[in-house]
Amino acid sequence: MTIITRRTALKIGGAGLALPLLGSRAFAQDEPLKIGFVNVGPRDDNGWTYGHYVGMQALEEEFGDRIETTFVENVAEGPDCERVLRELAQQGHKLIFATSFGFGDYVIRVAREFPDVIFEHATGYQRSENVGTYNARFHEGRAVIGTIAGHMTETNLIGYIGSFPIPEVNMGINAFTLAAQKVNPDIEVRVVWLSTWNDPAREADAARALIDQGCDILVQHTDGPAALQVAEERGIIGGFGQGADMSAFAPNAHLSAIIDIWGPHYIAATQKVLDGTWESGDSWPGLAEGEVVIGDYNEKIPADVVEAAEAVRLGIIDGSIDPFTGPIVDNTGTERVAEGETIDDAGLWAMDWYVQGVQS
């Protein structure tokens, strides 16, 4: 395993340019399959990128020396990422995972130049012959924690720290709010957008702003535990881990967590590449397949609330509950989903609206 930060990637890039394209078709059985991971954050963000790192470890455990992995950290969502992708491909990586939404356009562009390299883009929507997408139904987890929040809140005000208003985040906000409102129709969710995935000091300030305005439960869709630490310090009811269990940072405030388990997908995709059966497609499993897991429930959550949350979790797993079941009205008063209907995947990927009760 090689860990590369953005700076060392520069140097390696220089070396990579000097090398000829390592025998493009000649990756025979004996040679290990080189697999690259391109990440927006550091692997010790205690959240999102860490989740992918754990997934990569599972991958190494499964295949041992049949594969060789490279984990590139702190790659900005911009032209820099195109360079990193190209370098990995030039160095002979035959399977490259790009793990952030903003890498999408660059993955498509680089993939065109390297038709024999397979790319997989997490949380993306653009595919081509050699670009597949994979994702997890995080919003299913949001429905479970929304149920807990709906039961637990006393002020009926919930703070939501958002990164960017992209469909993936919007789905989470809406699934969370709908589940909370099912328990308690008076719930109001206030969203603060930060335009970053990883700026702990700003996340903490946003948490302070939300608590000062009366929010007693915080939810975040950024990559780290800063908001939870503020929740712990202020002694509000609590918050939830995102991407990984964060209870070490907030033993009292950490109510539960939505944990992403990427290992099984990485193993399956790698197996297909090794077998030569990989085909471009979209993989979007959720709670049922175990790619999204709900963490331990905090002891302070009353038993009946745990029961309600479990009912939602199991309902989603067996298919009896869809987090987006109509009637759903958006926060401008327009009906988005009719009574009894649900939203198909294409509709989810186009979600640019918020349900009633969301202030954003």
């Binding site: 010790d44 206030r190 969203v191 702990p200 000062d212």
Partner: protein, 309 residues
């Protein structure tokens, strides 16, 4: 808006402004001596990781701050040696220091991932801070009081002390200072060391004051804001204080506006979000309205000292 809310906002603003203020005060002294150190962000990160590591290991935040200051100073000495003793280009060396600090802190910080510490809060007994107004006076971390004391100290040093006069002379005209017998290089070494220590302390504010964890690149560009603030404040300590708090205010108001769910809706949300940028443009215009040649920048800023001995 209630008094409670107003005070809550002020407390958040003070927290957000403090690291920027401390780092910028250090850089102000460095620049007054005629040296431009663009490595503030890197030194802050080194200070942040050192402050976290020492506080986590020993449980003593005072020791953490002291070690952060020392680590910042030590890293600034690399810069000082290259630029002052070897006359390397200050801009390039400063940028290299930032890159070094970023890489070093993430390497060193790997062992401290996923570990929280207790934040370094008020040194006053909590009874003093029960009333919201008293909380405004007694409710802060020692780092906040330190930053305010340093504003006065730096002002006094630069304008009222003999040593400060020498430092300014070195920054304004190094050859003259040299010809009347002052050690230009020695003064600049001392100034860079002070700037490094302040950047280290500023970095330690992140794990000790703002968010009690270590996260890679947790300063998220605030070192560059500190650098900009020095220019913005025209190298004057009290203007720096105003600038840092103004910046903290516009950044924080945006968050409170979004979190308020309507209380701030007299201005559209987009305007709140663009406030930091609008404020920057406005201040830049105001600065440039002053007569040309009066930017107050030290005349020898960024120039290597090479006497024709």
């Amino acid at each position: 808006m209630t008094t409670e809310m107003l005070i809550a906002i002020i407390i958040t603003v003070i927290g957000a402004s403090t690291p920027i203020l401390i780092a910028a005060l250090g850089e102000l002294v460095v620049e007054k001596s005629g040296v431009l150190n663009l490595g503030v962000e890197g030194m802050m990160l080194i200070g942040a990781v050192t402050g976290f590591a020492v506080t986590f290991t020993t449980g003593n935040p005072w020791l953490g701050i002291a070690c952060a200051a020392f680590a910042g100073m030590a890293s600034s000495m690399i810069f000082a040696f290259l630029t002052l003793s070897l006359s390397a280009n200050q801009v390039a060396t400063g940028l290299a220091l930032t890159i070094f600090g970023t890489g070093y802190s993430s390497l060193f910080g790997q062992a401290f991932t996923g570990r929280p510490i207790t934040p370094f809060r008020s040194i006053f007994p909590p009874e003093l801070a029960t009333d919201p107004v008293l909380r405004l006076i007694f409710g802060h971390s020692p780092l906040v009081y330190f930053s305010l004391i340093m504003v006065v100290a730096v002002w006094w040093f630069l304008t009222r002390s003999r040593a400060g006069l020498i430092l300014r002379a070195v920054g304004e005209n190094d050859l003259s200072a040299h010809s009347i017998g002052y050690s230009v290089i020695g003064v600049r070494y001392a100034a860079v060391a002070f700037g490094g220590a302040m950047a280290g302390i500023a970095g330690s504010c992140f794990p000790l004051l703002l968010t009690p964890q270590w996260a890679e690149r947790m300063t998220a560009g605030r070192g560059w804001i500190a650098l900009a603030l020095v220019v913005f404040a025209a190298w004057r300590p009290f203007r720096l204080l105003a600038g840092a708090y103004l910046f903290g205010l516009v950044m924080t108001l945006e968050l409170y506006a979004k979190a308020s769910g309507g209380a701030f809706s007299f201005l559209p949300a987009e305007l709140w979000a663009s406030l930091p940028y609008l404020a920057t443009i406005l201040v830049l215009v105001l600065i440039s309205l002053r007569r040309a040649g009066h930017s107050n920048a030290p005349a020898c800023l960024g120039k290597p000292f090479m006497p024709a001995s």
